[in-house]
Amino acid sequence: MSTPCLRRLNRLLIASLVLWVATAGAGEAASSSLRQPRVLVLYSNQRLLPAGIAVDEAIRATFETGLEVPVEFYAEFLDVDRFPSVTQQERMREFLSEKYQERTPDVIIAGGGSALNFLVRHRANLFSRVPVVHCGVSRRSLPGSMPDDLIVGIPHAVDLAATLEIALRLQPDTRHVAVVGGGDAGGSVLTASGKAVEFLWLTNQVIGELRDALSRLPDHTVVLYGSLFHDSAGNAFTPRTALEQIAPASRAPIYGHYDTYLGHGIVGGSMITYQIVGGSAAQTAIRILQGERPQDAVRGVSHTPTPMFDWRELRRWSISESRLPPGAQVLFREPTLWERHKWLILGILLVTSAETVLIILLVISRIRRRRIEHLLRQSEYRLRLAAEAAGAGLWGLDLATNVFWLTDQTRKLFGFSETETITVERFLAVVHPEDRGLLQQRLSELNESRGCSSVTFRIVGPDGTIRWIASRRSLQCDASGRPQALTGVSTDITEQQRNADEIQRLQTEAWHADRVVRTGAITSSLAHELNQPLAAMLSAAQAGLRFMAAETHDPQEIRDILQNIVQDTKRAGAVVSGLRAMVRRQASQRERVNVAEVVQATLDLLHSELLTHRVRLDVQCQPNCCVQADKTQIQQVILNLTMNAIEAMQRLPHEARRIEIAAGRDGAETVRLSVADSGFGIPPEETPRLFEAFWTTKAQGLGIGLAICRSIIESHRGRIWLASNEPGRTTFSFSLPLDSHA
């Protein structure tokens, strides 16, 4: 073997070894085929053409999702607009051929008509057996015939006519259509559309002239923008930058059919997005890579144009969205004020509404307060009025400063001047000396007495007159319970006090009168009671005299007689004093009274009366029951009840007349005394009014006996009532507080 041969063989060996190692390291990705598929994308224009970028992105994205195995992408840019010459194309062919000699792509995607034509023209010498998927190639740009069936693709339906249609739809009163860029082929389509418009061809102008021309367009004009790659001066552009330069100057809305122009100055048009274009081309390529025949792979992939518009341009030319064709997409909507500053607006609204609510609440609160103040004033006014009408003086004492607040009425009541500051000392100065101690004590007891308390006391006027004042006061504490102030009402009760004294006096008089009357009723009996001892004394004394007149007499007998006389005198004296006690006019005297003794004293007075009426008596008194009472008054009550009992049995036969008197403890704190007679009883209809004053069913009598009994008993804090009322047993009972001091 020759050395160059060996060297070639060696290189081949090493290359294949490297290749094998490389593919072995690729791992799982190269599971099905030995190596990664290679895809070459060949673009007609320069790298930075927006259409190209969009297609490229679409292709890669589609491959990413559509094919599991990673793909090697290669991209080449023919840039035919700037390098159109044949020689340049030939250089390109040679370059590509050599570059991809060892890396023949598995599929080629041709972007644009120029790329496709380039590939077709050089098919024999370049990528002769590689499947080609073309995209973005308009029908007109398609070559007449394909060299083989490996070249497939979907023609790019550039729908100029549809865009014009749209333009006229949006602006029906268009009369002129200015066409910029796009080539002659586009022109024929337009004129063939049959629209009643005049076409203005703005081709072969310098960019500056183009701008002027656009700015001088007549009314009712629309502009159709194809693709301007260079002007007549030979300046090259990307069509989009050209658009950007002329669009602001235009006097008429510009319509175009490339989606990449949307947002750079055109209103819109019927478009196929380059995304779709790229995507469908990639899909076809994927199928081919997966083994389908190219002719099969391309079927079922299609794309239709969509009307797409720039919202900003619609607004610029005041084109209403309602005129847009159905299915139209509107891009570049500027977020409304709301959308842009949604949170800010919400925030402001929130704050505003919060403020509004707050203001409303404050206003309501204020109205309420005003109303309350009004009510309060009204109430205070009424209070003053009522206080004045009642002669009541309102006052308050601040416990911290010891100073009084007084209404004018109160000042008048106490004899203070209208302006004087009244302290506690000043107040006490007008209080009667005997009552000062009480008031001071009450003041110092303040802390213990919550709630209301009352006190009565006397005040001494400047002229020495004494008046009685009743004060009702209530303690006010602060939140922590400490006494803060005392408020109260004071009234002049001098009149009431005098009346009360008078009533007391009259009552005493009435009781006395009743006693006199009662005692008068038993005068004859009392006389008889006196008679007995008197008669005995007389006879005894005379007997004594006779004994003494005899020759001999027994001194002992005389002594006995004299002692008898002494006893009888005392007996008579007791009757007299009992009588005197009954008829004496005296104020109530309370003392410790033994109930059994009082009963006995009363019965002594009534002894003859009971005898006269032939009444049998049964007395049961507990020995040690005592009450704190006026003895005469209790005796008066028992007398009353017993005499009533005697009277009640008048119509009974003698044998049936019985009075039972019982006295004893009733519970722990009460003494009860009852007088029961065996009479016919009291008719039920009369019982409610028994204790009423001046009410009687008897033919004689004032009817005040029981009423007086009641007033006496009640003045002793006791109770009197009809305990039983059956025929044969009528019982009156009264109870008094037990005097339990031993």
Partner: protein
Amino acid sequence: MKEDATIFVVDDDASLRRSLLWLLRSAGWRAEAFASAADFLARPSFAGIGCLILDVRMPGIEGPQLRDRLAARDASLPVIFLTGHGDVATGVDAMKKGAVDFLLKPCDDEVLLQAVESAVERHRAAQAQALELHDIRRRLACLSPREQEVMQCVIAGSLNKQIAEALGIAEKTIKIHRGRLMQKLAVNSVAELVQLCLAAGISPRRLP
């Protein structure tokens, strides 16, 4: 004279009882006292001379009632009522029923003693009279029916002849009857006979 008489005092008042006893004794009377009518009635009945001093108003049997009871028992004790009540009705009623006297307390000793004395005398007289009457009746009981007839005619003032004619007996028989009955009755004259018959309550028989 007072030795054979007994004065009874019934009064519920102990002191007065004692005083009255003293008084009576001081005047030489024999006296007994009782607290109630029931106590007095419980005593065996008294047949001698005496009188009863009663308090009108007493528990239990009252004065007038006791008097009625006594009357029923045919005990002829005279009753003097003593009372502290000057009740006219009771007094009148008492006197109507035959009480000897009605005295008010307090009573002067002279008044009381006087009343007692006259009451005792009356009782004595009444007793004597009763005795005599008893004797007369005994004597009258001895008479035969014919003698009784004759007696009745005699005291009418009829002559023997008239009596004989009326009764259809001989005059001589009449004279015999007359003599006999006068003897039996122990009277000496027609006048005495008449008195006797009056005392006995025998009424004359008038002839047609």
